[in-house]
Amino acid sequence: MAKSSRTGRLPIQQLQTVSDLLETPTLARLYAHILQHGPVTVSEIVDKLGIPQGTAYDYVQNLETAGLVEQTHDQRPYEYDAESISLTLSTDSETQTIRPALIAAVARRDEDEDIDVYIERHGFDGLAVALEYAYEYVDGTVNHRIAARELDLSPLEAEVILQALEPVASEYADAAA
């Protein structure tokens, strides 16, 4: 157990896991759910998220191997809790940190087409920056016009994505503070 959670913190391995989370919205939903509501059992996850049981078991096992999820109850029913993620990536000119809120935002793309379209148009980097403004939007210190100007979007597109990210920004506001 200690070994698996240790390997999860190795940067390049973590990068692979994060890449899986970003590319697989259902996996991202499962991770975000365990992180917010854990410890939980797999059957609770199946009930809450409405995903097939086999998929849920596979995904929990994948996340456990990656060290992001840990079994907290030794007897049946097994319970799982999640480790918070923080992976900072830098290129020559840009730095971005991937945190649970971004994973939770990506997790919504299957159910919220506005987020899906935004990712198609602006990528995960664009979504990460928009999320920063969404915290301030929820806080009331930024409106869609300021965000539009700074993100180089039309005011309408800014309002659409800020409202789409509002539930995530509200849920993760404490983590961002």
Partner: protein, 111 residues
């Protein structure tokens, strides 16, 4: 004294999100009470000014129906020479600047 109902862009996006019935409920409520929403020229331009926003389900807002049926109207431009208008504007900007920490110039740009 009369009451004017002023709506910003966010109201229309909010009514288009996830539940399209919300827009119809807004329409029905306004028509039943005989109330019109006034929008700034700027809001009018925002609602219709970005073809890229059509790609978003929530960016595709049926606001033209509101104009045709008269429950959305574009407000007259404010006359800044009117002392009441300029006083209210100055106070609003000062309030926003205090709350947000933005400069007075910025608050002008975002109002």
């Amino acid at each position: 004294m009369t009451t004017a109902y002023i709506a910003d862009t966010g109201v229309f996006v909010r009514c288009g999100r996830s539940d399209k019935n919300k827009f119809q409920r807004l329409r029905r409520a306004l028509r039943q009470t005989g109330v019109s929403l006034r929008i700034l020229q700027r809001v009018y331009e925002e609602l219709g000014g970005d073809p890229a926003a059509d790609a978003y389900p929530s960016g595709n807002i049926p606001y033209p129906d509101g104009f045709e049926e008269g429950w959305i109207v574009v407000a007259d431009e404010l006359e800044y020479a009117n002392p009441l208008v300029s006083t209210v504007m100055d106070e609003a900007r000062r309030f926003i600047a205090n709350v947000t920490g933005f400069s007075l110039e910025t608050t002008h740009a975002v109002q």
